[in-house]
């Protein structure tokens, strides 16, 4: 027995040693970000990002896909708006014009939206009357609700649209106050005075006198209001919390829901819409869609490689090294990747924390971050370093082209000695401790890297990993909590900027009290023309960057979505926190 056990032990050790010897030698560190261009699809470049149209062959009906999703809000009400893009059962009056299949016209690498890129969804035609201060919308007459409670397949009418808007603003249909504080609809729909109907298929939006402007119309059209019916109000609280009552006019019906795990959708056989590219084809193509929550990036990587996940999107789904591993592990024609700019990860310089109130301290922290090393070595990017202010560089509001050399250098140049001098002048010769909270989906290694940079100038950064974004937000947005939180700037719309950076805003993690900046945002919001708004936006964007309210960890990143080559008909349009996920999903097909 002893001899046998010795022999087994020796064999086990030998096996382990052989495995160790087989390890390594296959790394590909520091490689450039590449695009899988061998799928036979066309590739175009727009502002440094790449898009690929995967339309190869004719659309096919049937099949199923599984897409990664970050988290569900467990809320099925129509008031849950633009940041709940999993609600495939809803639709809005307008959606992004899928017919704009041209990256020169519409920058598909961005979620920046303007009304000129929108097409009617439930809305058939619309007319703005500046004299009367109204927007009159004629609805499609063949739209029906899903054959599911509480609507049971009835036709949609103008009363439903009125109810949907009234409820959000508390201006009628039995609602005196807005239905929800969770999503700040009065800020988004600030321009609406009242909503009237004229017959079964005409809706009239009466604008407030101060907002009878072109910019207000733009904002009204791009607001992603889910349209539902008053039957929803008749449901009990328990029914409203039950996925079995989640219904709308959308292309997919919610068929199953496992709390914080997955959503399963089946095709709405009575859906009314047709494919703009193939006008004879009724939508949607795919039979079933599963949205799967996968909290660990390592699991996302493995599941995509093994084919369990077909769709990896929604921003920073994989770390830089994981993306490399994916490219090395799969054949180039097994997937298509869509690269686009996204704001670098960063830390909100919470203004309720004393050291961060001094701009010299904020500048010092930025100087201590080796942005070049992060950009080139850690991320493996060879593009020019670009930094974002409040707005994404792809928007018209971004003032990044107007940055002075001094401002640019304050973000780009790595100068720990200079940083120490600034800290000393600010009264922190021995540094200080900075508590930071991030959530598990972020790249913890990047923050660990930042930790080492800041340690060089005497700033001790302690990182707490929250179990979820809401937990992180709770800590980071609490003025009494000592944690600064993740923030990455680069907003795509005025609405998002207002929600994130206005004083008292629901998503403000910087917690500043800068009234001058707040006035800039208000001026932007009340601008009467888009040209004026763009000019004011650039001013605000520049000011924001100058304040160093976000500690940027590296330059603008090349974020990447990975889509399995099984999926066809996708034109590279961004779906991250997008308002058009349901539009996209209705128009792609599976090529088995």
């Amino acid at each position: 027995m002893k001899k046998r056990s010795r022999l087994i032990t020796v064999l086990l050790v030998l096996t382990m040693l052989l495995s160790l010897a087989a390890c390594g030698g296959n790394t590909n560190s520091g490689s450039d970000t590449t695009n899988a261009g061998d799928s036979g699809a066309d590739t175009t470049t727009t502002d440094g990002a790449k898009t690929t149209d995967t339309t190869t062959g004719e659309p096919q009906y049937g099949g199923s896909i599984t897409a990664y999703y970050q988290e569900f809000a467990n809320n099925f009400g129509p008031e849950v708006g633009d940041n709940r893009s999993y609600a495939f059962w809803f639709e809005s009056l307008w959606a992004i014009d899928w017919g704009l299949n041209d990256s020169e016209t519409f920058a598909f690498d961005t979620e920046y939206i303007a009304a000129e890129y929108m097409a009617g969804q439930i809305a058939d035609t619309w007319e703005y009357d500046a004299d009367a201060g109204t927007l009159t919308v004629a609805l499609l007459e063949d739209v029906t609700f899903q054959d599911k409670e509480p609507y049971n397949g009835r036709g949609l009418v103008a009363e439903d649209v009125k109810w949907s808007y009234d409820r959000l603003l508390g201006i009628g249909s039995g609602w005196d106050t807005p239905v929800s504080a969770e999503t700040d609809w009065p800020s988004v729909l600030y321009m609406i005075e009242s909503v009237e109907i004229d017959g079964d298929y005409t809706v009239i939006f009466n604008l407030k006198a101060d907002y009878n402007t072109e910019t207000a119309i733009n904002d009204l059209i791009i607001a992603n209001v889910n349209i539902a019916g008053s039957e929803w109000d008749a449901l009990t609280d328990e029914q409203q919390s039950d996925w079995k009552y989640a219904a709308g006019t959308g292309p997919y019906i919610l068929d199953d829901y496992i709390l914080d795990n997955s959503m399963h959708f089946v095709k709405n056989e009575n859906y009314y819409d047709y494919d703009e590219r193939y006008p004879e084809n009724k939508l949607p193509y795919i039979d079933e869609i599963t949205l799967q929550v996968v909290t660990e990036s390592a699991n996302r990587l493995t599941q995509f490689i093994s084919g369990e996940l077909d769709w990896l999107a929604w921003q920073s789904v994989l770390s830089a090294s994981e993306m490399e591993q994916l490219r090395n592990s799969m054949s180039a024609d097994a997937f298509t990747e869509y690269n686009y700019y996204s704001a670098a990860s960063g830390i909100a310089m919470k203004q309720t924390l004393e050291p961060l109130q001094d701009i010299n301290v904020r500048k010092a922290l930025q100087m201590a971050i080796n942005s070049e090393e992060i950009h080139r070595e850690y991320m493996g990017l060879d593009t020019d370093m670009v930094f974002m202010g409040m707005f994404d560089v792809s928007t018209s509001y971004s003032a990044v082209d107007e940055w002075s050399d001094e401002l640019y250098d304050s973000y780009a140049v790595y100068d720990p000695e200079g940083a120490k001098t600034l800290l000393e002048e600010a009264g922190y010769p021995d540094g200080f401790t900075l508590e930071v909270v991030i959530f598990g989906g972020l790249d913890a290694d990047l923050y660990a890297l930042a930790q080492t940079y800041l340690a060089e100038i005497g700033v001790t950064m302690n990182i707490t990993i929250a179990s979820s974004p809401p937990e992180m937000n709770q800590m980071g947005m609490d003025p009494d909590d000592p944690h600064a939180m993740f923030n990455n700037g680069g907003k795509f719309s005025l609405t998002r900027a207002l929600l994130s950076y206005a004083i008292g805003a629901t998503e403000n993690s910087i917690l500043h009290d800068d009234t001058k900046f707040d006035e800039m945002l208000t001026a932007m919001n009340t601008a009467s023309t888009m040209e004026e708004r763009i000019e004011l936006g650039k001013e605000a964007d520049l000011y924001f960057a100058e304040q160093h309210w976000i500690l940027s960890l590296g330059a603008v990143e090349s974020s990447t979505d990975f889509i399995s080559s099984r999926i066809q008909g996708f034109n590279g349009e961004r779906t991250v926190k997008n308002w058009n996920m349901r539009t996209v999903m209705a128009r792609v097909w599976v090529n088995e």
């Binding site: 790394t27 560190s29 390592a298 090294s321 490399e324 290694d445 660990a448 890297l449 005497g458 990182i463």
Partner: protein
């Protein structure tokens, strides 16, 4: 100690290995090829995810940190965690078990019902709840692991304490006007020390494993603090296709530490359990054969 080395060589090996880990933890700054600077590991992003080489014997991780140095400093976290957690949980077990046994009566009844209720809840669930309340960090991890382990381990201590409490010499100590606390400290605890030591030695491995599990679930130390568990769950999993050594090396070390702890714990149990002393179970097969041969000769005579 002499018995340990003479009669339980595997246990002795376990002790030596544990001592080695402790020494590595203490002298990490001296032993690590790339010592910490300003409390952080030296990063070299240019050389990230490289396999073993002359400069980096065990390769580098995704931030270019030397894996060997990381593992050496990681021993510090594991040792601190293991020792502190084990000692704290043992203390909690002693306090609950011995007081419950010594005081007895309604106090014992109520306290044991609390322990019963606690043991009905899955251990991992308790850990997660505690970590959510206390937040992440080494101290929080120690407390979160020690408290449930201590409460659960109090049962064994209590049983041993009861058996000692009923011994005649303990009862007689009452004549000397010894109150219950005096009895606990002077008689009960010293006499159940073998049981305490057995528990102490045997639980270290479990603590190390638990730390790795907690890191896997996202509860654990700061990402900048070297930790074997964190290396497996963060670096190892994310880079398993290109740098599998990042999971393999810390995994091997954890296995060795658990093995050493288990061997040492078994040895302590065997040596200190009076039921195993002198009886046939304390002998190995050679000795048994000798005794049998001697007995056979006597019979023939």
């Amino acid at each position: 100690m002499k018995d340990l080395f003479k009669k339980k060589p595997m246990g002795a090996l376990g002790l030596i290995l544990l001592a080695l880990f402790v020494l590595v933890a203490i002298f990490a700054d001296v032993l690590a090829p790339y010592p910490m600077v300003n409390g952080n590991m030296t990063v070299d992003v240019i050389h990230k995810l490289e396999p073993g080489s002359a400069e980096h014997l065990l390769g580098t991780d995704s931030l270019g940190r030397d894996v060997l140095s990381y593992l050496i400093y990681g021993a510090r976290t594991s040792v601190i965690l293991g020792i502190c957690c084990t000692i704290l949980s043992t203390l909690i077990s002693i306090v609950i078990g011995v007081t419950s046994a010594s005081i007895g009566g309604k106090f014992d009844l109520i306290l044991q019902r609390f322990v019963d209720g606690w043991q009905c809840i899955p251990g991992m669930l308790i850990l997660i709840i505690l970590m959510n309340i206390m937040g992440n960090g080494l101290v929080q991890l120690i407390l979160a692991m020690a408290i449930p382990a201590g409460i659960g381990g109090s049962r064994m201590i209590r049983s041993s304490a009861i058996s000692v409490k009923d011994a005649g010499y303990v009862k007689m100590s009452g004549i000397l006007a010894g109150n219950v606390w005096w009895k606990m400290l002077k008689h009960i605890i010293p006499n159940i020390m073998p049981v305490i030591l057995m528990g102490l030695a045997g639980s270290l491995g479990g603590v190390i494993m638990m730390e790795a599990s907690m890191n896997f679930l996202g509860y654990g130390v700061d990402p900048g603090t070297p930790s074997w568990g964190y290396m497996i769950t963060n670096q190892g999993r994310s880079n398993m296709y290109v740098a599998p050594w990042l999971a393999l090396y810390p995994g091997i070390l954890i296995s060795i530490m658990v093995f050493a702890s288990a061997m040492f714990g078994d040895a302590v149990r065997d040596l200190m359990d009076p039921r195993l002393k002198g009886g046939i179970g304390s002998y190995n097969s050679k000795k048994i054969a000798k005794i049998a041969a001697r007995m056979g000769k006597k019979q023939t005579v």
